[in-house]
């Protein structure tokens, strides 16, 4: 039919006053983001090339456009950088492995309990995330149930502990980001027309093949969204590392935190922040290109 473009139902001709409406609507919010998101980032970029004033007090810097800051920051902390990305990747993969079947079960196998189950997935995250992480610390701790059970089954020795290990950190991260993985995957699965799966069965595909060739590909937008929503915050996280880890499991987030609050070294902290952001953006762009979804927002 002779329609203009579907998607945005636009007023045909807003008239002169009307033309300004969208801009007026956008102004306050975008201004806020400009002032409190973009400007700070610019300011941070500016700080990242400063050097401490020789002989000056802590926190006094001068602008020297010292790009070497970036090189120094990266080389001094390359271990933490790679560790952050490895942990984030592991958590994302684990979260994907745990969430996908769960999302699948809720979308296709839950009948009339679908809504309740969705609520139950989100519900644990109504408790403070810090309380949950501390709970894991106690659960995995020396007096906690996990150690006791494993010890009684003679699976581990008397000295092994799980807390303050990389394993604990990754476990904590995986757990905390589960709903960010589950919900987008669920949303994607939910949208699949069940008749497509019926058609696949009609065309001689068994359950596994139908999943592999029909369901999973159709759920890709959700998988992509979920992995992004998990990986990005995970890479910059430091809370889990702090509570569940030890000095050897420090992530880049811990370093940035300490450079801001303990060892006052703003230029390094700034350089590290931007390097982290840049690394994430590059990975995300490459990932999205390969996964093929263009509409994210």
């Amino acid at each position: 039919m002779a329609f203009a473009h579907a998607g945005t139902a636009t007023v045909s001709k807003p008239g002169r006053a009307g033309k300004r409406i969208p801009y007026l609507l956008l102004l306050p919010g975008l201004l806020w983001l400009l002032l409190f998101f973009i400007l700070p980032l610019i300011n941070l970029a500016e700080t990242s090339t400063k050097t401490p004033i020789a002989g000056g007090e802590t926190g006094a810097y001068e602008q020297t456009f010292r790009l070497q800051n970036y090189v120094d920051a990266f080389s001094e902390n390359s271990a933490q950088f790679s560790r952050s990305f490895i942990y984030a990747l592991l958590s994302t993969l684990l979260a994907l492995a745990i969430s996908y079947p769960l999302a699948y079960a809720i979308a296709f196998k839950s009948g009339k309990y679908k809504n309740i189950l969705l609520v139950l997935v989100i519900a644990p995250f109504f408790t403070s995330f810090l309380l949950r992480t501390i709970a894991w610390k106690q659960i995995l701790g020396a007096e906690g149930p996990v150690i006791s059970v494993l010890r009684s089954l003679h699976l581990i020795g008397a000295d092994t502990s799980i807390t303050s290990t990389a394993l604990a950190v990754v476990t904590g991260m995986t757990y905390n980001f589960l709903p960010f993985m589950t919900l987008p995957i669920y949303a994607s699965l939910e949208r699949i027309d069940p008749r497509l799966m019926e058609a696949s069965g009609d065309l001689y595909a068994n359950g596994l093949t139908t999943f592999r060739r029909v369901t999973f590909p159709l759920s890709m937008p959700g998988v992509v969204a979920g992995t992004l929503l998990t990986f990005i915050p995970a890479a910059g996280d430091y809370v889990n590392a702090q509570i569940l880890g030890n000095p050897t499991t420090k992530m880049i987030g811990n370093v940035i935190d300490s450079r801001f609050f303990r060892i006052v070294d703003y230029p390094t902290a700034a350089a590290l922040s931007f390097t982290l952001m840049a690394a994430i953006l590059i990975l995300v762009t490459v990932y999205i290109r390969r996964a093929g979804t263009d509409e994210l927002v």
Binding site: T8, V11, G18, I21, P22, Y23, L26, G29, L30, W32, L33, L34, F36, F37, P40, L41, N43, L44, P101, L102, Y104, K109, S110, I116, L117, L120, A123, P124, F125, F126, S128, F129, L130, L131, R132, I134, A135, W136, Q138, I139, E143, Y175, L228, I232, P233, G236, D237, Y238, V239, I243, G253, F260, A270, S273, L276, M277, I280, L281, L296, V297
Partner: protein, 266 residues
């Protein structure tokens, strides 16, 4: 037996997954009943006294109060600003649409530590000391994007023919918005507000950077985790969980009952 197993394997898995999800919550709730001293690390006995005196630990209720105040203000501002942007994106054509989309998306893709640290650095440069209002500002900043995404989705699902019908029936642009568009988008706005509140209330990293000496509930837990989180924090955490759960479940029951009642009359 094996047939039943293969058919229900995934359901069994889901049950296990739910146990995994709730385990820390159950643990937290259990320890809220612990007759502990300040440290609350080992089970010492069942008691109600923590629940009867939730503000017993020093600072805990001040922190909670701040979190609620900040949450309320952040929700208010971010919902209004975000809804306006969502309407602009969803109902109007204008130049700079892709730039706007990018600007909305970027905060969600930026690590919280970068958001928090950069904002703190700017505040310090301007000579502003971090405190209550800097926290609110920071929270509004990161909530806007989530509000936009949520409300925009709801607007997109709105049948544009309904607004045309309203105009056809003598409603001016404002009347159309007020009587048709807004009531139908309202659930999306409500969902966005709830999302904003939970994001704000539970935020730690950005808050830690930008709140100075003002205590919030997550900050309180973080600081006390070194010494031992008092049971009162568990009480509050569990209470928030139960309240939120109750709200969501009752909303579900309410709408299900409403749907059933309407069906019966048919």
């Amino acid at each position: 037996m094996t047939r039943w197993l293969s058919k229900n394997l995934i359901r069994i898995y889901a049950a296990l997954a739910f146990i995994y999800l709730f385990f820390p919550v159950a643990y937290t709730m259990a320890f809220s009943f612990n007759d502990s001293g300040k440290r609350n690390l080992i089970w010492q006995g069942f008691t109600f006294k923590n629940w009867l005196n939730p503000c017993g630990a020093p600072e805990v209720c001040t922190a909670l109060g701040n979190s609620i105040k900040i949450g309320f203000l952040a929700t208010l501002f971010s919902t209004i600003l975000g809804t306006m942007i969502a309407f602009a994106l969803g109902r109007y054509s204008f130049r700079g649409r892709s730039t706007t989309n990018l600007l909305i998306f970027l905060p969600m893709a930026t690590p919280e530590i970068v958001l928090g640290a950069s904002l703190l650095a700017m505040f310090l440069n301007l000579g502003i000391n971090p405190g209550f209002w800097t926290t609110v500002i920071a929270h509004v900043m990161f909530c806007i994007s989530f509000v936009v995404v949520t409300v925009k989705a709801r607007i997109a699902s709105l049948d544009p023919k309904l607004e045309e019908a309203a105009r056809d029936l003598y409603a001016t642009e404002w009347q159309t918005f007020r009587r048709v568009t807004l009531p139908l988008v309202a659930p999306g706005i409500a969902a966005a507000a709830l999302l904003a509140f939970s994001l704000s209330f539970d935020d730690f990293i950005i808050t830690n950077f930008n709140s100075g000496t003002v205590n919030t509930f997550p900050k309180f837990v973080w600081v006390s985790s070194a010494r031992g989180v008092p049971a009162q924090a568990n009480v509050i955490g569990s209470a928030m969980f139960l309240i939120a759960l109750a709200i969501v479940i009752s909303a579900q029951i309410f709408s299900a009952a409403k749907a059933r009642r309407l069906q019966k009359k048919h």
